[in-house]
């Protein structure tokens, strides 16, 4: 099976691409199919075209949500094909699962999965253009070189542009073998290439779905039951319909939609609705009950994830034992662009404009609801004003479809900030029972135990999908503890609540890394070891992670003397194929913790764009710090309390630490970059707080810590 294919004229037209006489190749960025684990039939889902003018277009199936994926994937193709980057456009591939396969963006997979196939597609195009040029110039192929969109015959000084060669190249058979460039030959990969989406993002022209306008479009908001799982009893819409600009009020499966000439009128109309909800059983849940429930579940024997060597209880005589509990709260995703979608449902067809991390799932579910063939549902992928995992769930797109269907008009459904925060699917709260046995004489760790008690994302989203088997997703980062400890025992106790849960930037690594790394610091203190030293010792078998610890420690100036109230902390974690250590400097004064500086050391294998890596480290640190310092979703009466930026306030400018990224130069396997920078930040900060104050923070957020106000240096 070839992994690069020539694209037929028919498929080519579906891409909306230009003229005949273009060379078009397809390749596949394989979506991981976790459900079946089967290798999908070869259906290309990324494409490149060279037209008669020499313009190159690359279509990629991934969503751009700030991670720079359009640029990164475009660069992979362009470098191998020796395209002139100035003439390369990168576009979103059409959402068409029958022709182009499933699409999803998440798990920091884009560059990892595109790394091979996209370069191979680019190299294939380059070879075909070279072969066409050899025929055109009447010289041997071996005397030609491809360079920035042209084929050059150095001996004669003649050259010919890709545009003039495209048609002839398209008529050639696919080469059986193509060689990828050697590292020294790369021109774009590894360089800080400017992002293709930047210009549109500084002049207001970048189109998010919230910016889409259609003829005859109405603006809608939905009143939903504040309590999870609650249902509608009755409603009265007379006052709402009397609000100036309100056009319609319709029932949809998730609540009552108010449609109006403007978003503002719709919001005011919604305020005028009188609604009686049946709040249902979840109304009896609040924070205290959730905490109680997790604690009650804790003694249960969990499903074993890893069991090696001596247990904590069974460790040798003379061992010292330490047990600690860590916990983290539910968190909202809260992207800057609230959830929204535009839908236009007509007889026999449907169009949706959306920023989605899973457009094909949305398309399939919309088709099912409307009783349409998937091909009759068109999904237009827009820029995402932040995703963080939330936009992988199709609920908000489906709501827009329902509203459009019920109202018989094109509709823009906007979630207000309150809606977005109170009807999210949340990062699971969790409880971690940590235990260790250490030998005080040899100062070695003998055994480690981690029992995770938390809701299962997979079981809650797809009941029955996990049952009493191990939820591998939940234990990621706990099970694969990288430390060389003779005994390691990890188990998982499922503790589902009525609060809906979903993946949140770095999924369960954000909880498990916090517990691992904060607890390891406690062990270090018990053994009177330096936190960097203990990691370096225990990471002998994990050289890539070890190296990041060294670099981060060196970068922060580990061991230097500090002003009173300052402390340094370190933490590391491997996730999504990459290795990251953060070293943080904090300053603690009465009632405030300030993170002054973070050195982020990362090994993600070969670097596609160092500037994007630095940006993603800034981003992960800010997202993770916002959560660690004060992020918390609280439940009262089965509903979310927080509803505004004041209640759930991301890091502001004045709180931004200096973040310095250090990249390990590496030829190892390529890893992701959107998520791996997040897990180590919370533990690095609590470890630094300990260094500054001698106080351990074992539950997040830090601001919720008892006695926080009284802390002094």
């Amino acid at each position: 099976m070839s992994d690069v294919v020539l694209i037929s004229r028919r498929t080519f037209l579906a891409l909306g691409a230009g003229a005949a006489g273009s060379l078009v190749l397809g390749c596949r960025i394989t979506p991981r199919d976790a459900a079946t684990g089967t290798a999908p039939v070869f259906v290309p889902n990324a494409f490149l075209a060279v037209d008669g003018e020499g313009a190159v277009t690359v279509w990629v199936p991934e969503a751009e949500m700030g991670q720079g994926v359009l640029t990164a994937l475009g660069v992979l193709v362009a470098d191998e094909m020796e395209a002139d980057w100035e003439k390369v456009r990168v576009e979103q591939a059409p959402v068409d699962p029958e022709r182009f396969g499933k699409m999803s963006t998440g798990g920091s997979t884009s560059v990892r999965e595109g790394w091979e196939p996209l370069r191979r597609a680019g190299a294939t195009a380059r070879e075909m253009l070279l072969t066409a040029a050899a025929a055109r110039l009447g010289v041997d192929r071996s005397q030609l070189a491809a360079r920035r969109g042209r084929v050059i015959h150095e001996a004669s000084g003649r050259s010919v542009g890709y545009g003039e060669l495209a048609e002839a190249a398209a008529a050639l058979p696919l080469p059986a073998e193509v060689a990828l460039k050697k590292p020294g030959e790369l021109r774009l990969i590894g360089k800080p290439i400017p992002r293709v989406d930047t210009p549109a993002k500084v002049d207001g022209s970048a189109a998010f779905s919230i910016d889409v306008r259609r003829d005859g479009m109405l603006h809608a908001v939905i009143a939903r039951c504040p309590v999870f799982g609650g249902t509608l009893k009755a409603y009265e819409d007379r006052a709402a319909l009397a609000v100036l600009g309100v056009r319609k009020v319709v029932r949809v499966p998730t609540g009552i939609a108010v449609l109006a000439d403007s978003t503002w009128a719709a919001i005011r109309g919604r305020e005028a609705l009188e609604i009686a909800w049946d709040r249902g059983e979840a109304a009896a849940w609040d924070d205290a009950r959730i905490a109680r429930y997790l604690n009650e579940r804790a003694p249960a024997k969990g499903v074993e994830a890893r069991s090696e060597g001596p247990t904590v209880a069974g460790a040798a005589d003379g061992a010292t034992r330490i047990e600690r509990r860590y916990s983290v709260p539910f968190l909202a995703h809260a992207p800057m662009e609230t959830l929204n979608a535009v839908a236009d449902v007509r007889p026999g067809r449907c169009e949706i404009w959306v920023g989605s991390q899973s457009p094909t799932r949305l398309q399939a579910e919309a088709a099912k609801r409307l009783g349409l063939d998937v091909a009759r549902v068109t999904v237009h992928q827009m820029f995402l004003g932040g995703g963080f995992g939330r936009r992988a769930w199709p609920d908000f797109g489906l709501e827009a479809v329902e509203v459009s269907r019920a109202a018989g008009a094109p509709v823009k459904l906007t979630w207000t900030r309150e809606d977005d925060m109170r009807h999210d699917l949340y990062r699971p709260a969790s409880l971690h029972l940590m235990g260790a046995a250490v030998d005080p004489t040899s100062r070695r760790v003998l055994a480690w135990r981690h029992r995770l008690v938390a809701p299962s994302i997979l079981e809650q989203l797809w009941p029955g999908s996990i049952g009493d088997r191990l939820d591998e997703m939940a234990v990621s980062g706990a099970k694969d503890l990288p430390y060389a400890i003779p005994g390691i025992h990890v188990d998982y106790v499922m503790a589902n609540t009525p609060v809906p849960v979903m993946w949140w930037r770095s999924v369960y690594a954000s909880q498990n890394a916090f517990a691992n790394e904060a607890f390891l610091d406690e062990i270090a203190a018990l053994l009177r070891k330096d936190p960097v030293e203990i990691r370096l010792e225990l990471l002998k078998g994990s050289p890539r992670l070890r190296k990041t610890v060294e670099m981060a420690a060196e970068g922060i100036g580990w061991g230097r003397s500090l002003p009173p109230g300052h402390g340094l902390g370190i933490a590391c974690h491997a996730s999504f194929g990459s290795f990251v250590a953060h070293a943080a400097e904090v300053a603690v004064a009465k009632g405030t913790v300030r993170v002054l500086r973070v050195v982020a050391a990362v090994d993600c294998g070969p670097v596609v764009n160092p500037d994007t890596i630095a940006a993603q480290m800034d981003s992960a640190v800010v997202y993770g710090l916002s959560a660690a310092l004060r992020g918390r979703i609280s439940i009262r009466g089965g509903a979310v309390v927080e509803g505004s930026w004041a209640d759930y306030e991301p890091l502001r400018y004045a709180e931004m630490p200096v973040v310095e990224t250090r990249i390990v130069s590496s030829e190892e396997s390529i890893g992701g970059i959107g998520e791996p920078g997040l897990p180590p930040i919370a533990p690095a900060v609590v470890n630094a707080i300990f260094a500054a104050t001698g106080k351990r923070v074992r539950s997040l957020p830090i601001s919720g810590h008892d006695g926080f106000k009284a802390w002094e240096a």
């Binding site: 700030g66 207001g204 910016d211 000439d261 403007s262 503002w264 800057m336 662009e337």
Partner: protein, 158 residues
């Protein structure tokens, strides 16, 4: 309905027929189709909706359109035609945006800062810009871009 309201948006005179208390944000986005100005909270907490009113930064989500009548409004669509286009160039040079959603508000807030203080130091930048949230964490680059536009950059690595 009250009588039509006259606005001057990016140098163009616009007459609109809306309720005087409709926030300027929704007039810009839903009535005039200037969607570069963003909604993110609607209650003056995040700055995504920042525009200039006679050169002063305001939160358009919390400004009734009647208050804007007769004043010069500058939105992101009009920024390129002011002498603050240098900010946009600096934003590109420093590769500031990630998802990009907060950036129109950031740019207009930065323009208001430079209008008042053409050579702000870091502390002044931080203080002025703290009202505009960025969930993607682009703050460090925003500071560098403002310094670059103000001609006070310490060099690309500062």
């Amino acid at each position: 309905m009250a009588k039509p309201i006259e606005l001057v948006v990016n140098g163009e005179r616009r007459r609109i027929d809306v309720e005087p208390e409709m926030p300027l944000l929704w007039v810009l986005r839903d009535v005039l189709g200037l969607t570069g100005t963003k909604y993110s909270c609607g209650i003056a907490e995040c700055g995504a909706c920042t525009v200039l009113l006679d050169g002063e930064e305001i939160r358009s989500c919390a400004t009734p359109v009647s208050e804007a009548a007769g004043h010069e409004i500058t939105t992101i669509e009009g920024l390129a035609h002011t002498h603050f286009h240098t900010l946009q160039e600096a934003w590109i040079a420093e590769e500031v945006p990630q998802c990009g959603y907060c950036q129109p508000g950031q740019l207009l807030a930065a323009a208001a800062l430079l209008a008042r203080n053409p050579h702000p130091d870091d502390a002044e930048i931080v203080e002025h810009m703290s009202g505009i949230l960025c969930r993607c964490g682009t703050y460090q680059r925003i500071r560098r871009a403002i310094r670059r536009a103000a001609g006070t950059a310490k060099g690309a690595a500062s």
